[in-house]
């Protein structure tokens, strides 16, 4: 097997991976950086983020406000030291992107413009029309091209981390173009592999979001934290799940049930605000978990609008007018017309909640370090616990910048203090052997598509917006069964060049591991908090569950679930108030 020797290997070249690479290249120009991704960097799913990135910049705002919004929005499951670091670094990171040329939308005086977002007390979301993630990703990618020390390995799929004597010493990856395996010896590894929304059938997530980064760390012994917290974005197109950004509501769009009523006022988010004058942290600017849950109740009451793709509500933006929609929400208009045949300028757009984001992920400390020396993680794949039980819109783009950089600095420090230690040859050979076995297996009874379908159905049915003990028990049993049956998969395609049958089998393996961590963690959390709602335990239970779930991998069975205390520095758990009555 060909060996590539590097200093820091980064797995994933989306926002977090690129930000980490840039931080390394700037801080230590002689450092060798291997940026490894299963796709070309600009295909990474950061490109699909629409609304913007939160960072305090306006004089009437403060870090304190951003901190409080985030901690309350997360239903007090955030680690407050991590949130403090996020809010204080956020403006610097967003300014840094501006200095790299990001085309942020502007005020008439040339300063950066900000827009309101759900659950935020002040306007602090930096945006580039409704393609903010796209512009952030392309700015980072293009900026990275000036650094020769960043060596890219595009379309390489990482199959395993190499752990030598309790330290991460590199990884093994497949070059998709040749099907050949490569060994990377690295003095530190950063995982920035994105989320896992593809476990669910109806998601805003692109096809590549299959939890590979999470599974890599998990199988290497690093726990996955708070995996039961899966965010439903309230407004996806019912036909395709395509995201219509929260900025639709930030700009003044409203949600209606089939009777034309702005129903959020019936779920503690009212009183109704005047049309065209959105009020922060109220009604349509409530947090995503609450809005998605309100839709679920409307559905139960028979107030949802039936469509041929299932029940929906209406997102009405007509009063914004064509000019504002074209300037601020051009992608939203294009998507609505293309995929639904509805022009938001003239008609309300049917939408429904859709799986969007994993609050949970690879457990890291505030420095983006995992429990495995030499291994770091950042972005959606990581759980540094700034999102708690529910992420506020526009905190994730900020998170991947702040903690992408943080992971790089931590890795750099580690590399400075520790001499290189190559993994023994047998580790890489065993990893190669496992891949070869899957590739060559015959007599298997299972198919990738078949198991994937069963996994998605299970997640949709039992791990959605509202969950029950009974349903989760069934899901745990089913995912255990799928885990066993996965070993019986036989590939249809046993050739080497760009074999997507093979790639999808590996991705399915990642998703099954993540999915089992989700349902096992959810079954064990007998309370309702943020995005995790239990019909059988409808109240938040701070006495027993003001703590993080940790799912630890067990090769032979379901994960072991443990817990860890939440870091509370100054905000004691309180009531999440999104009514018009809040101060």
């Amino acid at each position: 097997m060909e060996t590539i020797s590097t200093d820091v290997a980064i797995v994933g070249a989306g926002g977090a991976g690129l930000r980490a690479a840039l931080a390394l290249a700037e801080a230590a120009p002689k450092l060798r950086i291997a940026l490894i991704s299963k796709v070309y960097p600009m295909r990474s799913h950061t490109c699909a983020a629409e609304g913007g990135a939160a960072g305090v910049i306006k004089p009437d705002d403060s870090l304190e406000h951003h901190f409080n919004d985030t901690v309350g929005g997360g239903d007090w499951l955030c680690d407050q030291d991590a949130v403090q670091y996020l809010v204080q670094e956020a403006p610097k990171e967003l300014v840094q992107l501006e200095h790299w040329g990001c085309p942020w939308s502007r005020e008439p005086d040339g300063s950066v413009a900000v827009r309101p977002f759900g659950g935020m007390k002040k306007e602090r979301t930096w945006f580039a029309a409704d393609k903010s993630g796209f512009h952030i990703l392309h700015t980072l990618f293009q900026t990275s091209l000036q650094f020769p020390s960043i060596e890219r390995f595009d379309e390489y799929y990482v199959t395993e981390l190499l752990v030598e004597q309790g330290r991460c010493a590199g990884l093994v990856a497949i070059e998709m173009r040749s099907g050949q395996m490569r060994r990377f010896d690295a003095r530190a590894v950063i995982i920035a592999g994105g989320g896992a929304g593809r476990m669910f059938p109806f998601t805003t997530n692109g096809a590549i979001k299959t939890g590979d980064g999470m599974a890599l760390a998990y199988r290497a012994g690093v726990p996955l934290k708070d995996m039961e917290f899966v965010q439903y974005h309230p407004t996806g197109l019912p036909s395709t799940g395509t995201l219509l950004t929260e900025a639709c509501r930030g700009e003044g769009g409203v949600l209606l049930n089939k009777n034309g009523r702005r129903f959020l006022q019936d779920y503690g988010m009212g009183p109704e605000t005047p049309l065209g004058h959105p009020v922060l942290k109220t009604m349509e600017l409530g947090p995503r978990d609450r809005v998605s849950q309100a839709f679920w109740h409307e559905q139960k009451k028979g107030n949802a609008l039936p469509t041929r793709w299932g029940d929906a509500m209406l997102l009405d933006m007509r009063h914004l007018g064509e000019k504002t929609i074209n300037e601020r929400l051009p992608l939203v208009r294009d998507m609505s017309i293309s995929y639904m045949g509805v022009d938001p300028v003239t008609d309300p757009v049917p939408v429904r909640p859709v799986v969007h984001y994993m609050m949970g992920g690879i457990h890291t400390d505030i420095n983006a370090a995992t429990s495995l020396p030499g291994l770091y993680a950042a972005g959606e794949c990581a759980c540094v616990s700034i999102n708690g039980a529910n992420r506020l819109g526009s905190n994730s783009l900020t998170e991947l910048l702040v903690f992408g950089r943080r992971a790089a600095l931590s890795a750099l420090e580690f590399v400075g203090k520790n001499s290189a230690r190559a993994a023994s040859a047998s580790l890489a050979e065993n990893a190669q052997g496992r891949i070869r076995e899957l590739m060559q297996r015959t007599g298997g009874k299972e198919t990738v598509a078949g198991l994937r379908r069963e996994m998605m159905q299970t997640m949709e049915e039992h791990a959605g917006i509202y969950r029950s003990g009974e349903g989760l028990a069934a899901a745990c049993a089913k995912l255990g069964e799928l885990r066993r049956r996965y070993r019986q998969i036989e590939l249809h395609d046993k050739t080497n060049v760009y074999n997507t049958d093979f790639l999808q089998a590996l991705e399915l393996g990642s998703m099954l591991d993540c999915a089992e961590a989700v349902v096992q963690s959810a079954a064990a959390r007998k309370e309702s908090r943020g995005a995790h709602q239990r019909l059988d335990f409808p109240e938040r239970d701070d006495r027993n569950f003001l703590r993080h779930s940790l799912a630890s991998y067990d090769a032979g069975g379901p994960p072991r679930i443990g817990y860890r205390d939440v870091v509370i520095t100054r905000s004691q758990p309180g009531v999440r108030d999104y009514s018009g009555g809040h101060e």
């Binding site: 799913h45 091209l145 173009r177 096809a207 997507t500």
Partner: protein, 244 residues
């Protein structure tokens, strides 16, 4: 429901001597795009079919391919716009790696060659943003919208004839940075884009702008580059005292 006949180019360098077409009959929903039909084939009929895709919302740029001879994003090629057999091939002008997957090394190298990053005109302000008015933003914004899908390269007859030609997206990208009020790197980029294989190679067919799914108008960018290069030439040779 509608029965759609897909004719898909297949090529596996390990097992095929040359590319061939394979026919699939697919039960499709009315509102589907070509990508949905391909996914349906992959999932239910033929797991060996290979192609790139991810976002299904025309922003990741992965799924460019030829649909009935035209460069299209498969996620935005609606079945309702086609009758009869739909022929799907890899993007024209790029070597085929496998099935609908092309080798894009040339394009990636060209993107990097135009120095597509901010070369600051002035030192960045401390702890705050550069000022840039909405009017200044508008001067280059359109050219930032390129998703690197390469449809313009597949449409460009010049690129087909002269593979060294820098091509529409790369020139438009250089132009994007040149027009940014924060940037001072035009001279550094000019060498690449005003060279023989740069903008002057373009014969202004305009096909690039017609197929662009994001309305970037690379043809417009190329013409602007030509005009600016001409002005450069006159300034340098006829009015040297004007050159900064």
């Amino acid at each position: 429901m509608r029965q759609v006949e897909l004719e898909v180019l297949r090529y596996n360098p390990e097992t095929d001597r040359e590319p061939h077409f394979q026919r699939y009959s697919v039960d499709c929903q009315e509102e589907w795009v070509v990508l949905d039909a391909l996914n349906h084939v992959k999932e239910t009929l033929d797991p060996t079919l290979s192609y790139r895709w991810s976002c299904h919302m025309a922003v990741c740029g992965s799924c460019g391919m030829m649909v009935n001879g035209e460069p299209k994003l498969a996620c935005k090629a609606f079945l309702r716009d086609y009758q009869g057999v739909i022929r799907v091939e890899p993007l024209r002008h790029f070597p085929v790696e496998r099935d609908l997957v092309t080798v894009i090394d040339d394009f990636i190298a060209k993107l990097a060659s135009v120095k597509p990053y901010l070369i600051p005109r002035d030192k960045a302000p401390q702890a705050s943003e550069y000022r840039q008015t909405p009017a200044q933003l508008k001067r280059y914004k359109q050219f930032t919208l390129c998703i690197n899908c390469m449809l313009c390269y597949a449409a460009c007859p010049e690129y087909g004839l002269i593979p060294k030609y820098l091509g529409p997206a790369a020139i438009a990208l250089a132009h994007r940075w040149n027009r940014d009020s924060r940037d001072g790197g035009r001279d550094a980029r000019q060498e690449e884009i005003a060279a023989t294989e740069g903008a002057w190679e373009c014969s202004f067919v305009g096909a690039c702008s017609e197929v662009c799914p994001e309305h970037v108008d690379p043809a417009g960018a190329i013409q602007q580059v030509k005009i600016e290069s001409t002005v450069d030439w006159y300034q340098e040779h006829l009015m040297p005292w004007l050159k900064k």
